[in-house]
Symmetry: C2
Subunit: 262 residues, 2 copies
DNA sequence: TAGTGGTCTAGACCACATA
DNA sequence: ATGTGGTCTAGACCACTAC
């Protein structure tokens, strides 16, 4: 079925190759592939055309194609294996490996993340601006706010407030609240961006916990609660959501991941 | 002075090129350059040999040299400018741009980091193992512990406990406590690894603040304090230090940086 | 055995910085 | 004007996978 794969490569070029661009070719190819993956032209796990097919369908030579694909590998967007080919990395395994709320348990070596369970408490549409606006609604678009409780290993209850652009994720607005389970949540994000969270910006502040937080989590009234704020970004650097976690005091260690410079 | 630069390149190869290696050449060159920078063979800001000089002094062709140098750029280890040349990135600007304790102030757009001031309270040698052992003293080496107070914008006092391998940083052990100011601190780390912190692993936990923390910071007794744990790594992925920050409640936002997957 | 990606080369042209 | 890095090419050889 070599013809089909080459046809697919040509279709990719027709759709995503920029008519004219000041970027170098390896950069054009890298961006085109990223965009096509984000838009779902290639599904996660799908096999990409071979290097030779890219050489035939783009105005790039082998070295240039390789450079673009190598860059995508280093970004974790695709995977390549000698003899097999190139496939879109399966970034939709975030249910097993999320980027936040990774508690470590008391004493494990090597560290192991505790299981998490979620339940949805409330959902509302917010039209007023807030601290989330500059990330997910720069033009004051309506925002869907979803309040949830994360149960960590059935031992710790963490209250979470989630904000996302209402128009971008219609399922989050339209589906019945009962249907907004943990699994489905990620699926909706993926359906819009076709990939999971790529990186997260994190910040910490302290705040008197609102009533609903005190009622539904292990946070106590009157004591300022530590609030972890997370902004999730997609592959194309678009902000996907804005989320606050009200962290109750506990003996468990919360893994915040590895931060790189600037 | 072209001869001198070429001589320097040859000296680099003599010292750092592996006698035999199963790694590809671009990887050998990348590792050799990283190692030589960590060991101080090239000082921060120093000008590296040109591509042509590397071609002449190593068994690599131009493309291979470029690939190695490009990799180092993407890691932030060197900087290159067309027409000028390649220089070792000045990673010793961490006093201005540290990787932790970056508070954001109340409402700034774009966000600006608040100034920090430090004073040293105590220093002692620790021989017993602790949570830091697996990172900086896997064989139970003596560890130097330094207690400090960070003053954020003269408004917030954060207590910090710092651990490092005593043998690796003799200045931290031998110098009088009064001489351990903020500036000097980074210098000692740099003198050992010749570069500043490359990336940090972060975690959060809660803990009843010890007496000295309550006495010397804005943390209150009886209330569990949020403790941010940071492990700093050098360019060659060696752990440099293990540090705890006792974060008092405040209206200021603590920037935790950007975390990438896994 | 045929096809895949991984490495490496030699050479070309260009944009930019410095003197 | 010279030298620098940035891009791109065409082609070679190899290691590995799949058939």
């Amino acid at each position: 079925m070599k013809t089909f794969s080459l046809d697919r490569a040509n279709e990719f070029v027709r759709r995503y190759w920029p008519p004219e661009s000041s970027y170098p070719k390896h950069e054009q190819l890298r961006r085109a592939l990223t965009e096509s993956i984000v838009e779902g032209f290639w599904a996660p796990g799908a096999r990409l055309p071979t290097e030779s097919e890219f050489v035939a369908s783009t105005p790039c030579s082998l070295g240039t194609v390789q450079r673009a694909l190598r860059e995508l590998v280093s970004q974790g967007i695709i995977e390549r294996r000698r003899g097999s080919g190139s496939v879109v990395a399966d970034l939709n395994a975030p249910t097993e490996m999320p980027l936040h709320m990774r508690y470590l348990g008391d004493d494990a070596d090597p560290p192991a993340h505790l299981p998490r369970y979620t339940r949805v408490l409330a959902r509302r549409i917010v039209n007023e601006p807030g601290p989330w606006s500059r990330y997910i609604a720069p033009d004051n678009q309506p925002v869907v706010r979803i309040d949830r409780v994360f149960s960590i290993d059935r031992r710790l209850e963490v209250y979470s407030v989630f904000y996302a652009d209402a128009a971008q994720f219609p399922e989050l607005v339209e589906l019945p609240v009962e249907a907004l389970g943990n699994r489905n949540f990620k699926v909706f994000m993926a359906r819009r961006y076709h990939t999971a969270v790529h990186r997260v910006k994190q910040a910490l502040r302290f705040e008197q916990p609102p009533d609903e937080v005190v009622r539904n989590s292990d946070c106590e009234a009157g004591i300022p609660a530590a609030v972890l704020n997370v902004v999730g970004y997609a592959l194309n650097e678009a902000a996907m959501y804005y989320q606050d976690f009200y962290l109750p005091p506990s003996s468990m260690v919360l893994d915040l991941g590895v931060a790189v410079r600037s």
